[in-house]
C-alpha cells in the first residue's frame, strides 16, 4: 500500500518531472489518498472503521491499476479483496461484537516493533520494485497493455509454472484449514458441551 507514490516519483523523474501528464498527477493523488486510508486503517481505535478504511485503501489500489491500464487486475482486486476478504473481516468483527466507538483494548504493546517491521518491509519492497522497473515505461496512450487478453496470454504462456505452483500452495492451505477446523470442532463440542459460551456461539452462527 505504501508502494504507490515513491514509485511514481522515481519513474517520472527521468522523463520530465517538471511537466507531469494528467494521468501521472492523478496517479500521485490517488496514491496519497490510498496511503492516507492505509495509515488510518492501522491507527484508528474503532475496529469496524479500520475495516471500512481498508475498503478505501483497496479501492484506491484498484484505481491505481486502472490508471496503469491494467483493467482486469483492477476488477479482480475489487472482486476478491473488497467483495470477499473485507466481507469476511466484517463478518468476523460482527461475531466478536465489535463495539460502536473506541475499543479500549485495540492497542498493542508491540506497536513500535510493528512499525519498524512495516517500514523495513515497505522499504525493501519499494527498493526492489524501483530497482527492477526503473527503466521500463508503460505507454498509456497506445493500446491497453493490461487488458484481459494480454494478461491472460502472459500468465498462461510465460508464467504457467509459478501460477500452477501457487494454485497447489493455495489448495494445500485450503485442505490444511479444513483439517484444523475439523479437529478443533470435535474437541470443542466434546469438552464444552453445555457451557453458556458455546451455546451463544452456536446461536449466532
Amino acid at each position: 500500500m505504501t508502494l504507490g507514490p515513491p514509485v511514481t516519483l522515481a519513474a517520472t523523474a527521468p522523463q520530465g518531472f517538471l511537466s507531469p501528464t494528467g494521468v501521472e498527477i492523478a496517479f500521485l493523488l490517488v496514491g496519497m489518498a490510498t496511503l492516507g486510508a492505509a495509515v488510518i486503517t492501522v491507527t484508528t481505535k474503532q475496529l469496524v472503521h479500520a475495516a471500512l478504511w481498508l475498503v478505501v485503501a483497496l479501492g484506491g489500489l484498484a484505481v491505481e491499476y486502472l490508471l496503469l491500464t491494467a483493467e482486469f487486475i483492477a476488477w479482480v482486486q475489487v472482486l476478491i479483496y473488497v467483495g470477499s476478504v473485507v466481507v469476511l473481516l466484517l463478518f468476523g468483527l460482527m461475531l466478536t461484537k465489535a463495539p460502536i466507538g473506541r475499543s479500549p483494548d485495540a492497542d498493542s504493546g508491540n506497536r513500535w516493533v510493528a512499525l519498524a517491521v512495516a517500514i523495513a518491509s515497505a522499504g525493501a519492497l519499494v527498493w526492489v520494485v524501483v530497482d527492477a522497473f526503473r527503466t521500463q515505461w508503460i505507454d498509456l496512450d497506445g493500446a491497453a497493455q493490461g487488458s484481459t487478453e494480454v494478461t491472460g496470454t502472459i500468465l498462461f504462456r510465460h508464467w504457467v509454472l509459478p501460477f500452477e505452483a501457487l494454485s497447489v500452495l493455495l489448495l494445500a492451505a485450503l485442505v490444511g484449514a479444513i483439517v484444523l477446523s475439523r479437529k478443533n470442532g470435535d474437541a470443542e463440542t466434546a469438552e464444552a458441551a453445555g457451557t453458556p459460551t458455546s451455546a451463544t456461539d452456536k446461536e449466532q452462527r
Binding site: Q46, V48, H49, L52, V55, E71, F72, W75, V76, V78, L79, V82, G83, S84, V86, V87, L88, L90, F91, L93, M94, L95, K97, A98, I100, G101, A144, S147, T148, Q204
Partner: protein, 322 residues
C-alpha cells in the same frame, strides 16, 4: 466537444433507466402479487389502476423524519444507503441492451468481472447498516447478509466463468456477439445457478432471511426511516433490474431473437429482462422463506457442484467443437 456530449447523453440515459426501471418493477410487484393473492392492489393513486402508487410512496418517504439512533455510529449509519445503492447504478452502465457501440453506456473490457465486483460492493452497505445501527436485530441481519454473500458469490462467479469460457471473452458485448441459439440448452444449468445465486445475493424471497421481517424485523434496516429506508428499498429493486438484465445478457442471448436482431434488438433485451423480473416476483409469492442452514446447504452442496459440472461440460464441448 461532441465526445463529451455523447458521454453525457449516455450517462443521462443510464441514470433515467436507473430511476424509472426499479419503480416499474416495484409497481409490477404490487399489482402482480395482489392479483396472485386474489386482491386488487393499489387502485387510487394516479387514477388508472393506481399507477402512481410508488410516486406517492416516494413523497411519503421524503416527508418522514430521518432518525439516527442515539447509540448508532452516525457517519457509517448515514453513509450505508448510498453504499448499497450506487453500485447498481455503476453496473447498469456496463450492460449492453442492443448490438453496436450505441446501445451500451460504456464498453468495459473485463465486463463480467466489473459487474460482479461492483455488485459485491453493494452488500457492504447492508453490513455497514447492520453494524452501525447498534441494534441486535440489525446485527443479526448483517451477519446473515455476510454469510449469504460468502456462500453465493462463488457459484455466481463460476456460472459466469462458464459463459466466458464458451464465448472466449469476458466482455459483455463480446459474449453477445459470440452467442448462438444452442448455447441456451448448453448453458442452462449455469443460467439456473446464476439466477438463484443472484436472488440470494439480492436477499429476495425465498432467500430473504437477512431481512426476515417476522423474526428479525427487517434485519439491517430496522432502524432506518424516511428517505434512507427508501434508498435501501430502491437498491433492492435496482438489484432485480441488474440481475435480470445480466442473466439476459449472459445466458439468454440479450438482443438476439428468433427473427434476427435487426433494429429491434433492444426490445428483445427489455422483454427478456421483464419476463425474468416477473419470475422474481412470482417466486416471492410462491415460496416460503428458507431457513439459514438450508440456505447454506443449498449453496455449498447443490449450487457449487452444479456450477463446477457446468464448467466441465462447457470445457468438454468447447474442446470438441475446436
Amino acid at each position: 466537444m461532441n465526445d463529451v456530449l455523447d458521454v453525457a447523453l449516455r450517462l443521462l440515459v443510464v441514470f433515467v433507466v436507473f430511476l424509472t426501471f426499479p419503480l416499474i418493477v416495484g409497481q409490477t410487484e404490487h399489482k402482480v402479487m395482489a392479483h396472485m393473492q386474489g386482491r386488487l392492489g393499489p387502485m387510487y393513486a394516479g387514477g388508472f389502476h393506481g399507477w402512481a402508487q410508488l410516486v406517492a410512496d416516494g413523497v411519503k418517504f421524503a416527508q418522514k423524519e430521518d432518525i439516527v439512533p442515539a447509540n448508532a455510529d452516525r457517519r457509517v449509519f448515514q453513509l450505508a444507503p448510498a453504499v448499497a445503492l450506487l453500485p447498481y447504478l455503476l453496473v447498469l452502465v456496463a450492460i449492453p441492451i442492443g448490438p453496436g457501440e450505441g446501445a451500451v453506456g460504456q464498453v468495459v473490457d473485463a465486463g463480467i468481472f466489473f459487474v460482479l465486483a461492483v455488485m459485491g460492493v453493494g452488500v457492504l452497505g447492508s453490513l455497514m447498516a447492520g453494524w452501525a445501527s447498534a441494534n441486535k436485530y440489525s446485527l443479526l441481519g448483517g451477519l446473515r447478509t455476510a454469510a449469504q454473500l460468502l456462500a453465493y458469490e462463488l457459484p455466481m462467479l463460476l456460472a459466469a466463468a462458464s459463459v466466458a469460457m464458451a464465448a472466449g471473452t469476458v466482455s459483455l458485448p463480446g459474449i453477445l456477439n459470440a452467442f448462438e441459439w444452442w448455447w441456451l440448452p448448453w448453458q442452462i444449468v449455469g443460467a439456473l445457478v446464476f439466477f438463484v445465486a443472484g436472488l440470494a445475493e439480492l436477499q429476495r424471497p425465498p432467500f430473504d432471511m437477512p431481512v426476515a421481517d417476522s423474526e428479525i424485523i427487517f434485519g439491517a434496516y430496522t432502524e432506518y426511516t424516511g428517505l434512507r429506508f427508501a434508498l435501501f428499498l430502491l437498491a433492492e429493486y435496482a438489484g432485480i433490474v441488474v440481475l435480470c438484465g445480466l442473466t439476459t445478457v449472459l445466458f439468454l442471448g440479450g438482443w438476439h431473437g428468433p427473427w434476427g436482431a435487426d433494429g429491434l434488438g433492444w426490445l428483445w433485451t427489455l422483454a427478456k429482462t421483464g419476463i425474468l423480473a416477473f419470475l422474481v416476483i412470482w417466486l416471492r409469492v410462491s415460496y416460503p422463506r428458507l431457513r439459514e442452514d438450508q440456505l447454506q446447504k443449498l449453496a455449498w452442496t447443490v449450487l457449487v457442484p452444479l456450477a463446477l459440472a457446468q464448467i466441465a461440460l462447457t470445457g468438454i464441448v468447447k474442446v470438441a467443437i475446436n
